[in-house]
Symmetry: C3
């Protein structure tokens, strides 16, 4: 009985975490929070749906499908942002300036996938502080931080979180870039289902890169 | 082994409840069931997205974002119906006339929230029977019931259910109104992520308020 | 402690399955995977929302709501493809040619439903290989396979999976048809919340029906 009570509490906590975006962790790259893709490598045209139309939330040169990687979904196979070839990048303006702590890269779950050869493999994440678009010349002194290098592993959970190597040395950032240099076998395209950025808002938003 | 069998069954039941709209309880304020917002206090304009456009399901003076509070979602921060200031109200036509038993107010989960100062705090729920819009004068005798007064607690689960104080004395209702008189700190706006109404359909739809 | 570790692992697996489209099984009738409804019996007009408009993904004579049955959702009551009367059918072009192993028929969960009299009851599923639309006369030799006959049971889980009777004798198919000959009581309409098709891709896509 006591075991069951403890078990019940554990189950409640696990379901609560699952219900809280799967990880129970704040995501500063979430579209509903104000983040958006500002730039990306060439889109894979073979995937149906999604047009580079200039809509309400459209940005020049940014594909309408890009928002898919900044939003939760039911995890359906095919419902991703697909980029051409086996290497490429996506650059994201975060909701606000943060001290980054970790990122999460998610692909379709193994059990429901038709094929996972389009999953990114070797990846590199970098970040910097851009601030408001301005003509202020001091802002050109953007310092880029290397945040993480990792390999997305098809044998692990489909949402894989990677810590920022040396969080203490990294300053405040509001732009982040994911580069993938290889994928799991597809010659035609690489699919990004979701990318999240975890961290905390600094007490002051003056970036370390400019402070020094 | 026996413990595990019992545990497995418990887990199955908990996940089933989670999959059944989180609570496993019928919601008569659900948009897909035919409920809709008929009136609300001033909308907070600072939240991007959502326009008071006259669309297919548009109603005069009702903001398009209002439907968000009558629908399940992934619980993303920012994906709510935002009203101006720290007090206000929303009035909802239910799917059908019911004897109300409880209501549920939901805010974004703590673990994924950027900030929860926009959560409603002190609330009051009232209901009445309106019936079909008609020129029938007897219909003006709408009797309003006070259904519940409660405080949304940031330390508890994000979906909080409150029973109807004296369910037996309450008649049949098809309109419900949520008034919030304070929030958890935001001076600019209050966010409603979801509002549900639980109860049962009466054998006869003649409202007690008119029966007597 | 050891019991808890085993329990925790079990819970993790169950939640993972739940997160993976509820069943953790590949679905070849998924809209995001490229499947679509090609034909259906008369739609029930009483259900609001959804118009037979000729949109981007529209097909002649196919109702826009038909896609609802090939997509995951939050399982809200009313969010289904509703057909007129207590018998009817839906015909689906699968994402690709497969050897079928099972199908899953899903209705709204009992705990959140207003009424389940619109659930299909006695059903029959058949399939065949159609291939590309072509004038090639040999393609007219489509051989239809009877895949399953079953009764959707309101007392069981809302997503019910039925195996293909004799999977070994069934050839490769890319078209599937669900016929329901009765429902659980509604005289006006029958609702299909979701229909899935499980199986595996053959090494060769030459259908057995033509091979022989
Ligand atoms: K997504
Ligand atoms: K919602
Ligand atoms: K569905």
């Amino acid at each position: 009985d006591e075991v069951m009570a403890v078990a019940r509490e554990m189950v409640g906590k696990e379901i609560e975490k699952h219900a809280a975006d799967g990880l129970g962790r704040v995501d500063y790259a979430l579209a509903s929070g104000g983040a958006y893709v500002v730039k990306h490598s060439e889109v894979y045209g073979g995937i149906k749906g999604g047009f580079p139309f200039p809509g309400i939330s459209g940005r020049a040169g940014v594909h309408a499908n890009s928002g898919k990687m900044l939003r939760p979904s039911f995890g359906e196979p095919g419902d991703c942002f697909a980029l051409k070839g086996s290497s490429g990048f996506v650059q994201i303006k975060l909701r606000t300036a943060i001290v980054p702590e970790a990122i999460t890269l998610e692909h379709v779950a193994k059990s429901v996938a038709y094929d996972r050869s389009s999953a990114p493999k070797d990846c590199r994440v970098s970040g910097w502080f851009k601030g408001q678009e301005t003509t202020d010349l001091t802002r050109n002194a953007e310092k880029m931080f290397s945040l993480a290098e990792f390999t997305y592993d098809l044998e692990k959970s489909n949402a894989q979180t990677f810590g920022i190597s040396d969080s203490s040395g990294v300053g405040v950032i509001d732009m982040i870039r994911l580069d993938f240099t290889s994928n799991h076998g597809s010659a035609s395209h690489t699919c990004i289902y979701r990318f999240r950025v975890h961290g905390h808002e600094p007490d002051s938003i003056v970036p370390l890169a400019i402070q020094s």
